[in-house]
């Protein structure tokens, strides 16, 4: 039993790693294509049919490019930083139930690496640790822009972690558990959390969604690596595969957040049937698409606007929301 459990876990880990690495690559393709369509361009089209092999070409380029360690950096930290980003992104995946459990060859598979009973807290914590990638990368680089990016990153992450934490408190109070599987069960019985509790769930959902943009560092909150201000921020001095790891981490994060949002608020995989699994994938696809859509549609905000939004708008709303939830539940 224990050996089987071990093997299963290893297999799951490997599968998740592979799938999401690949997804990160394909994600870039989708992003370019979708942005291109929205901007009346063609996007990648030369490598392979519809430019599909562009992903592979990019991968080869990244892997084979020379790994430059500039002088003046703090070498060990400089080397570790991208790994942190990538690995935390995948570590967060350990507590996410990607699909309902299913049977294969008479063996029940739980598509979750570890069903720990503090799943949400764990995800939040790991997302918090994800901050160290940009932070250490920026501080270790011998570059003022990188340092600025690190400072911005730290500020944004700390601030929006508050909003994230507060916004999911109300759903946690409804469910009474920190496990994502329990969330799914609850929503199966009581309907989606978005529509629960006279709009409290909806407000929490919106807040979490907004915070998700900041947590992943996507437009319109793309200021820790804002091209027109601070070049590539913490990534300025990186090249080759190290830069690629940052890249994979960012896209993996986007996918995980896209999983977490429906799991938390939109009913997850439902009753566990094939239909439910497909529905979950559909929701994930929508949220991933939404990230790209927003990038095409909206400009970036200034850092001060971002902090203003966090501390003076979102956080008060989140606190009031929690109070409302508590009052209504009483």
């Amino acid at each position: 039993m224990e050996v089987a459990y071990l093997i299963e876990t290893v297999i799951k880990v490997v599968v998740i790693l592979l799938i999401f690495s690949a997804l990160a690559g394909i994600g870039t393709y989708f992003e370019r294509k979708i942005l291109a369509f929205m901007q009346r361009r063609l996007g990648p089209m030369n490598v392979g049919p519809y430019g599909l092999l562009q992903v592979a070409a990019d991968g080869i380029k990244l892997f084979t490019k020379e790994d430059i360690i500039p002088s003046g950096v703090v070498a060990p930290i400089f080397k570790i930083a991208p790994v942190i980003t990538a690995s935390t992104a995948f570590m967060a995946a350990a507590a996410i139930p990607f699909l309902p459990q299913f049977e294969i060859f008479g063996y029940t598979v739980h598509p979750i690496v570890a069903d720990i009973n503090i799943g949400i807290l764990y995800i939040l914590g790991i997302m918090g640790v994800g901050l160290y990638g940009p932070l250490l990368g920026g501080m270790a680089s011998a570059n003022k822009f990188s340092l600025l990016s690190a400072a911005r990153g730290a500020a944004v992450f700390i601030s929006y972690e508050v909003v994230t934490g507060l916004s999911i408190l109300a759903p946690i109070m409804m469910v009474g558990s920190l496990s994502l599987i329990d969330f799914n069960e609850y929503q199966l019985e009581n309907g989606w959390i978005v529509f629960n509790l006279y709009g409290v769930g909806f407000i929490a959902f919106i807040l979490f969604w907004i915070a998700a943009f900041a947590e992943t560092g996507r437009t319109p909150f793309h200021l820790i690596a804002n091209d027109h201000e601070i070049i590539d921020g913490f990534g300025t001095e990186y090249s080759g595969m190290r830069w690629g790891l940052f890249f994979i981490g960012e896209y993996a994060n986007m996918f995980f957040i896209s999983f977490v949002i429906p799991l938390l608020f939109l009913g997850g995989y439902g009753d566990g049937s094939i239909l439910g699994a497909l529905a979950l994938l559909g929701k994930v696809a929508f949220f991933f698409f939404f990230f790209l859509w927003v990038r095409a549609a909206w400009p970036d905000v200034r850092p001060d606007q971002l902090m203003w939004l966090c501390w003076k708008v979102l956080m008060p709303i989140a606190v009031v929301n929690i109070l409302l939830a508590a009052i209504i539940m009483i």
Partner: protein, 187 residues
């Protein structure tokens, strides 16, 4: 088996990280090592079944405390070498080790005499989070609220200290200088 392996692995890693933290002359190394050590410590908490404490350890220490320290480092421009005068190493090490051993002796003393009884025993069949919640909001409600107030006070203090005008000492200034500051503030 797993538990022993995990314990020794993490014990080694934690000790190593903390050792780096206190000995390295690279401030960034110290920061990274400390953050890593904090995360490794949370591993002990998970091993010990204190899941919630472990999560809190990661969220608070790694997510907030260390990030603040990182801010401080950027602010004070101490991301590289730190020049420090060195004292007598033997005294330092000797004192620390002796005191540590004494602390262990004192910790161990009640266990030798078996004087400890579980005041708030863990409930069977309930997750650690629930368990913690029960005790925290019943038996330890007052300390919890006091801690909350303390955090609030600390927050206000931090804001005020790091805020404007705190670099100037009003007590050391002349009246004219204070007046000048006030007029500048108004205009």
């Amino acid at each position: 088996m797993f538990e022993a392996i995990a314990f020794y692995l993490f014990a080694f890693l934690t000790a190593l990280m903390f050792f780096i933290t206190v000995t390295t002359s690279q401030a960034l190394h110290a920061l990274t090592a400390l953050a890593a050590g904090m995360i490794f410590i949370s591993a002990f908490f998970f091993i010990l079944g204190a899941d919630f404490l472990g999560a809190v350890q990661i969220v608070v220490y790694s997510g907030a405390v260390m990030a603040l320290y990182a801010f401080g480092m950027m602010f004070f421009d101490t991301t590289r070498d730190v020049k420090e005068k060195q004292g007598n190493k033997y005294i330092i090490a000797g004192l620390s080790i002796v005191s540590a051993i004494l602390v262990v002796l004192i910790f161990a003393a009640p266990m030798v005499t078996d004087n400890i009884t579980a005041l708030y025993p863990m409930t069977e069949g309930v997750g650690n989070t629930q368990d913690v919640g029960m005790v925290l909001f019943t038996k330890y409600l007052v300390p919890f609220e006091v801690a909350a107030v303390m955090l609030l006070v600390a927050m206000v203090a931090g804001i005020v200290l790091a805020g404007k005008k705190m670099d100037a000492s009003l007590t050391e200034m002349s009246e004219a200088e204070i007046e000048e500051i006030n007029t500048r503030e108004l205009s």
